[in-house]
Symmetry: C2
Subunit: 204 residues, 2 copies
């Protein structure tokens, strides 16, 4: 919690504030939790629920997802392979900034191409945690909360991942969540346990 | 500071975590402090020193500047008017994300065009605080810490703000710092006093 500052007598001791300084202040390490999976697999729901749990325990945490990226930073990009690549490149760069700022940042994007995810990993370093939200396409299509699969089947949406555009599943993700069989709570619990095992969060 | 989480018994109360929630947790409001001015006017030095002061008082704060943006997110952009516009657009979007995450984010970019700064203001809302780091071009050129003015005069660097490209000074900035006559400490003190007067930081 912020202290009061005497504006009339300013001094400082840090030349620059490092990620390590921020982590010491926050009481947890910074990380990028990169959720990847099909549309309607549960990425965003799990990322948001995880954020709520972390926040309630006074962690510094943020979610990057379609809602705050596709209508803002990346609103100039479409869904062609080139635009998807640039989409993920920018998200990787922004995630790296949030991690540098000391946060646990959850990104929730389909991010269908392995090469693009690997580039994001390259930007973020060893605390890039790839979380594969695994859910069979039939289950996703059955859920279809926004009616996107229906439109994709009808051909109204072209290049739809899992239907008319490829999804390259992670080969060595740090964590795989079985989102068809486990509840959101269970999936969040698995991520928290992983973060504690890695020492990113405190253990009990 | 982060508390310990029981990974075996996950529940949460927030549906989404709002900026207001984050501000209550952090003990200060979120804001974008948009430093604008000529190269070598002192933008980045003041932004970094302000960050150090805020951090030492346990605020959540971050600096976006050429070092972490031009080599990362915006490394595909040059210095043409179009690229400068896109550069500032992306920085405005990222600053808005950091503000949404509860932080006081200091941006330190020349940002020479009024229209581009006004767009960033439009993205960030009422807690966009434009800080004009005023320093006569002669003083900047005298300082020239990176030898850029010399190169610009020699024509090695084209489109250099203040020499061969325009700088449109702010007409109604929230704050003007006289960086030629006041020390870094004094300038930081003026920003802190402003933030306290606005209620963004606690007052003494």
């Amino acid at each position: 919690m912020a202290d009061q500052i005497k504006a009339t007598n300013i001094k400082w001791h840090h030349e620059t504030v490092t990620q390590k300084d921020r982590e010491a202040n926050n009481g947890h390490e910074a990380a990028v939790l990169w959720f990847t999976g099909l549309s309607a697999s549960g990425k965003s729901t799990i990322a948001q629920a995880l954020q709520a749990v972390l926040f309630e325990h006074h962690c510094q945490t943020y979610v990057l997802d379609g809602d705050n990226i596709r209508h803002g930073l990346n609103k100039d990009l479409g869904f062609s392979p080139e635009d998807r690549e640039e989409n993920i490149r920018r998200i990787g760069e922004v995630a790296a900034l949030f991690m540098d700022a000391g946060m646990i940042v959850n990104t929730a994007f389909i991010s269908p191409y392995r090469a693009d995810r690997d580039k994001a990993r390259g930007l973020c370093g060893e605390r890039f945690i790839e979380i594969y939200v695994h859910c069979p396409v039939e289950v996703c299509e059955e859920r279809d909360p926004k009616g996107l699969y229906k439109k994709a089947r009808a051909g109204t949406i072209p290049e739809f991942t899992g239907i008319s555009a490829p999804y390259e599943a992670p080969e060595n993700p740090e964590l795989t969540l079985n989102a068809a069989e486990h509840s959101v709570e269970e999936c969040v619990g698995q991520v928290v346990a992983y973060l504690q095992a890695r020492g990113i969060l405190k253990k009990l």
